[in-house]
Structure formats: structure tokens, C-alpha cells
Symmetry: C2
């Protein structure tokens, strides 16, 4: 019965033309309507609770006030979905909606998602990725603005990435400041990932940041455990190997929190305590970082902020474009302690 009021209804109620109503409600600059007319129109619109039909508007003006978000997988860590929150926040501020699609890393799915977005005439697309890497995107239609979030690509206009070099530097500096300069181990260097941007566009920078901080302090890592897949069990194994090697480590830089979790387990089995015997710092600020005992000091991957920045680049006409680096804030917890005086070789590395 009661269908939505249209522009014509408002016009009828205000006793003016549709043109007048449209001009007033969109407050077009050139229009010169009397203050009374403007008032009547606003009143009528409010009384009828008029809201423009977006389909009709899109049809006319060719824009939809909708942004598409296409990501590989949002479901793998909770922080990746924080990216959605960042996107939504900014989109909401600009009165835009967000349409989502997931590709599960299949190029065919990507093409399909993209086609669906183009069909639906979104005004722009954010391509998100769980891990910061080079995405192979198909050619985009001329007019469509695109930004990658936590990713780069050859075709998108702008890219938003975490500031990994800085984060690596700061995390290493924390251990150096605590006096661990001569006892630092690195758990999780990944040469393959460093060299292939399709695996990671930023891990190399993270590692370089760590190296640079050490080099500036005149230090060198005592041990570097290399492995490509950063899960707790790998961190566990690698940490055991480092301890078994006899290297007198007092501080570990773990390349992510899951690896650090494995390191905690390995240290515990060896009877070493965090941070009294060994300090640990890490990256990601995953869920578990706060759950560990003691809490893990880690540099956060700023998914939410990357989402915000990416969406701003699409919607904010004067947002800077190109590659944007978003800082990775360090979450200070309790996993770093000053290096014990007798750090060199004092505690047992054997079972």
C-alpha cells in the first residue's frame, strides 16, 4: 500500500515542481529559489520522510555511491577482518556502501568478482590481501579507480602497505636498548619470501629493518633460523635448534607472533623463562600475543588503519596517492627484560 514517497510526491506536497525539489535537496549552486520555497521543500521532504531512490539516481548519474572490496581471504586472522572495519568506517563517513567478494586466491574467482563489481557499477574497488604481496590483477576499465590494501599490483592506481622497514628497525632496537646486542637470534628469516614479491612484498623490508638496526649498533645476529612457513610448530622446532646449537642467545626476534608462540613453548620445555632468561619481540599483534604469559611485545600489522587509508584514497579527492606506508605501532608487553649481567653462556642450552 504505502510505498516509498518519490520526488514527485514531495513536489506535490510542497506545491512546486520536481525540478525545484531536486535542486533544493541536492543544493545545486546555480539554483535561485526563494527562501520560502526552499523551506517548503525541506518541510515536505521531512514530513514524507523522503529518501531518494538510489537505483533511479544511479541510472541517471552513472555513479552508485558504492565501493567494492575484493580480497583473497578475509577469514584467516581476526586482524585481516579489521581491515573491513576500517573500510566501512570511512565509507560510512562518505555515505558510501561497501560490496564484498572473496576470491580464495583463484584467478577465476577474481575475474568473476571483478565482473560482478563492474556490472554493479561500483565507483571504485579496494583489493585487499591477507599477506602483503604483489597481486596479479586483470586490466581494469578506464574509469574505475582502484587501490590495493596490504598489497601492491601493476595495475591499481595506489597501494597501501605497512611500514615494515621502520617496524623491523624499532623491534630490533627494543632488544638492543635492553642490552641484548651481542645475543640476538632471529627466528623465521624467509629468503624465498624475501625474493618473490608474489609471496611477500614486505618481508624483505622487515628483515632489512632488523639488519639495519643491528648494523647501526655494530651488532650481528648470533643465529638466524630460516624457514618459510611461519606457524607455531616451525617456530618451536627452529627455536629448539638454535638453543641446541649452543649460541648464547638472550633475545629473540621472531618474525611473527605464531612463531613466537612456538618459541615460548620451546623455551618453556628447556626450562628457560621469558623474559628473565630470554627476551622476545615479534610482529603482527595477533590474538595470541596478549594471551601468552608473559604478554608478547610485538609490532602490530595495522589492518584497520590500512583499510581506512585505502578507502580514503578512493573517496577523498585530496588524499595523496601512490604508495602509502602505514605505521606499525609497537604493543609493549612483558616479554623483554634487560639483558642479565652474565648473559654470555651463563644459562644452559642443553636439555
Amino acid at each position: 500500500m504505502n510505498k516509498r514517497p518519490t520526488l514527485a510526491d514531495v513536489a506535490a506536497r510542497a506545491g512546486l515542481s520536481k525540478t525545484a525539489v531536486s535542486l533544493v535537496l541536492n543544493d545545486r549552486p546555480g539554483s535561485r529559489l526563494s527562501p520560502e520555497a526552499v523551506q517548503r521543500i525541506h518541510d515536505a521532504a521531512r514530513e514524507l520522510n523522503y529518501r531518494p531512490n538510489p537505483a533511479a539516481r544511479s541510472l541517471r548519474i552513472g555513479r552508485t555511491n558504492t565501493i567494492g572490496f575484493i580480497s583473497d581471504e578475509v577469514t584467516v586472522t581476526r586482524y585481516a577482518s579489521a581491515m573491513i572495519r576500517g573500510l566501512l568506517d570511512v565509507a560510512d563517513e562518505h555515505d558510501h556502501g561497501v560490496l564484498i567478494a572473496e576470491t580464495g586466491n583463484h584467478p577465476k574467482q577474481l575475474a568473476k568478482a571483478l565482473e560482478s563489481m563492474v556490472d554493479r557499477q561500483v565507483d571504485g574497488i579496494v583489493f585487499g590481501s591477507l599477506t602483503a604481496r604483489l597481486l596479479d590483477l586483470p586490466e581494469l576499465p578506464e574509469h574505475l579507480r582502484a587501490v590495493t590494501a596490504n598489497a601492491t599490483s601493476t595495475t591499481a592506481h595506489s597501494a597501501v602497505l605497512p611500514s615494515e622497514h621502520e617496524a623491523g628497525h624499532r623491534i630490533a632496537q627494543l632488544l638492543l636498548d635492553a642490552g641484548h646486542g651481542s645475543g640476538i637470534g632471529i627466528i623465521g628469516h624467509a629468503p624465498l619470501a624475501c625474493s618473490d614479491p608474489r609471496i611477500s612484498a614486505t618481508i624483505g623490508r622487515r628483515f632489512a629493518g632488523i639488519r639495519d638496526a643491528l648494523a647501526e649498533a655494530g651488532a650481528e645476529p648470533l643465529a638466524v633460523a630460516e624457514f618459510e612457513i611461519w606457524e607455531p610448530w616451525n617456530g618451536y622446532d627452529a627455536t629448539k635448534e638454535v638453543l641446541d646449537s649452543g649460541a648464547p642467545v638472550t633475545g629473540l626476534v621472531c618474525l611473527n607472533d605464531r612463531v613466537a608462540f612456538g618459541a615460548y613453548q620451546a623455551l618453556q620445555e628447556r626450562g628457560l623463562r621469558v623474559p628473565d632468561d630470554v627476551s622476545i619481540a615479534s610482529f603482527d599483534d595477533d590474538e595470541i600475543a596478549a594471551y601468552l604469559r608473559p604478554g608478547l611485545t610485538t609490532a602490530r600489522l595495522p589492518y584497520e588503519e590500512m583499510g581506512r587509508v585505502a578507502m580514503s584514497q578512493l573517496l577523498d579527492p585530496d588524499a595523496p596517492t601512490g604508495e602509502r606506508l602505514v605505521p606499525m605501532p609497537v604493543q609493549l608487553r612483558d616479554s623483554i627484560a634487560p639483558c642479565p649481567a652474565d648473559s654470555h653462556g651463563a644459562h644452559g642450552f642443553r636439555p
Copy 2:
């Protein structure tokens, strides 16, 4: 230059009317066009790569092939965002798009999100929740179909919930089967949450399932630690209290994985080993359940499946409506062992 082809372009190329093209491409039953005409139209559409303009179509038929997803917070656990994947999967199968909005639990945000969805003329709405609870939803427009996922409400047409009673029963049964009948402790009973559906609509069922399994086996819990907020530190404290009380527990049912994580930490500090000294089972299948050593046996909250079911209820004309219970599959890992023969009071409860 090259704008999208329209229906008129296809009609011109096929040498037929727009009406004919529309009828053929939507294969309307009543239309009786010659096979040649049908072929010519299909050819023309393919050659021009014609895709209908969704705005024009929505304007005409009043539907948008779009479903809205409004949730309180998708960003808190990774599994909650699995719900999005389930939704997207099914929506995709039905060629529908998904618009998302988040409310952060503010009623004002909820009203705004809902208004935005209604404005955009979505065909239906899924209201998702991180925790299974009663949502206070505003009155919905007559024609708008709505389903709650991992939630209930007084206004939505259908609700999808995890099958908590069954899960509680099965988890308890696992410990009973391993012979822990006389040594079971429950960590995390939450009377407040059980009684207030706005906090939880299902925790009561979970607990009832546990109780029922014990009762059927003629057992009673040796200890029940009550606390409302299920974080690792609370599980840690509660487990210590239970151990300190002297109750000879050999099996713990933790009410979620984070609590179980705290229990692991407490047991470890007391020198008790999982599962040799104490078996543990839990709920959620959170990220950490697989990371713990030994792996935690737990009943998964089926977020993805709930998303699938919820979207099916909206899009599938013959999906059953009303309250749908989705099974919670048990992830068997290594945290349960047969009860040691000397289970009663044999291991130390003191520091």
C-alpha cells in the same frame, strides 16, 4: 567513448525490438519468438558483450539482487569472519551481491545501517552476531525478509543458531568415555549469561548438554568454577582455584578455548601435564586450539556454516524457516587421555 552496450544496441544489432531482446535474455515463458530470432539475439548479446544495467533493472522491478549483512562486530575472532565467507559463497551461487555494515553494538549505528540498507533496496538482510544472543532489532519494513545468524530476535523471520545442547553433550561424553566420570571439573559456568538471552541465547543450552550427559552417566561435576567473562586470565585463575581446592579433577570441560588456554597455563605452572594428568575439552575451535601443545579437542562454532544456512534461508525458496540449529563438529586433538588408574587424589593439588 566506448560506453557499455545497452539493450537497444543489442536489439539494433539483432534487427529486432528491445522487447524481443528482453524477453529472450530473461527467457520469459510466455514469449513465442522463432528459434532464429532467439539465436540472433543471443549472438548479438555475446558479440557486444552485453550485460544488463542493474540500476535500470532495479528501478523497474524493485529488486536489487543484493542482500545486506549487518553485524555487531566481525573483527573480534577470525571465525566470526568465516560467517562472511559462508554468506558470500551462497550469495554467489544465487548471483546476489552482499552489502555489509557494522554496528559496533550501538543501537544508533544499527538504525543507520538498517536505513542505509533499506534505502539501497536490498532484497533481504542477515543480522549476524559474534556471540549467539537475542538482538533488539527495530521494526522492519513489511516486505523485507530477514534472518539472524548466530543470534535470535523478536522481529526477524528466521534464526540460525549453533546446536549447543548437542555439543555440550558430546564434549562431556568424550570425557566420560575416557573414564573421567568421577573427576570432572567445569571451568567457566556463567549463571548470568545463562539467564539473560541478551548476553547469550545458547550458553544455557551448552551447559545443560554437559549436565545432561553427566546425569545420564550418573555423574556429577566435582567442581564448577563460575565466572562470566571467558578470557585466558580468568580461566587461569579459576583453574588454579579448582586445583587449590583439593578436588581430585582428572578432566576439565572448559567453556571456551581461551579459558582452556588459561587452564593449560595454570596446569603447567602446577607441574601437571595435559593430557597425562588432566584431560581437557572445550568449545569454539578458536585459532589457538590448534596451536596449543598438545592440541586442544574442542567443539567448533560453525560460523561459516551458519552463514551458509542463513543466506540459504533468504535466497532459497524452499529452505525451511524458523529456528535452524547447525551442528558443532568436534575437532579431535590430543588433549584427552584415558583416566589414569590412580586418578583419585593421586596427583598433587598443592603448589
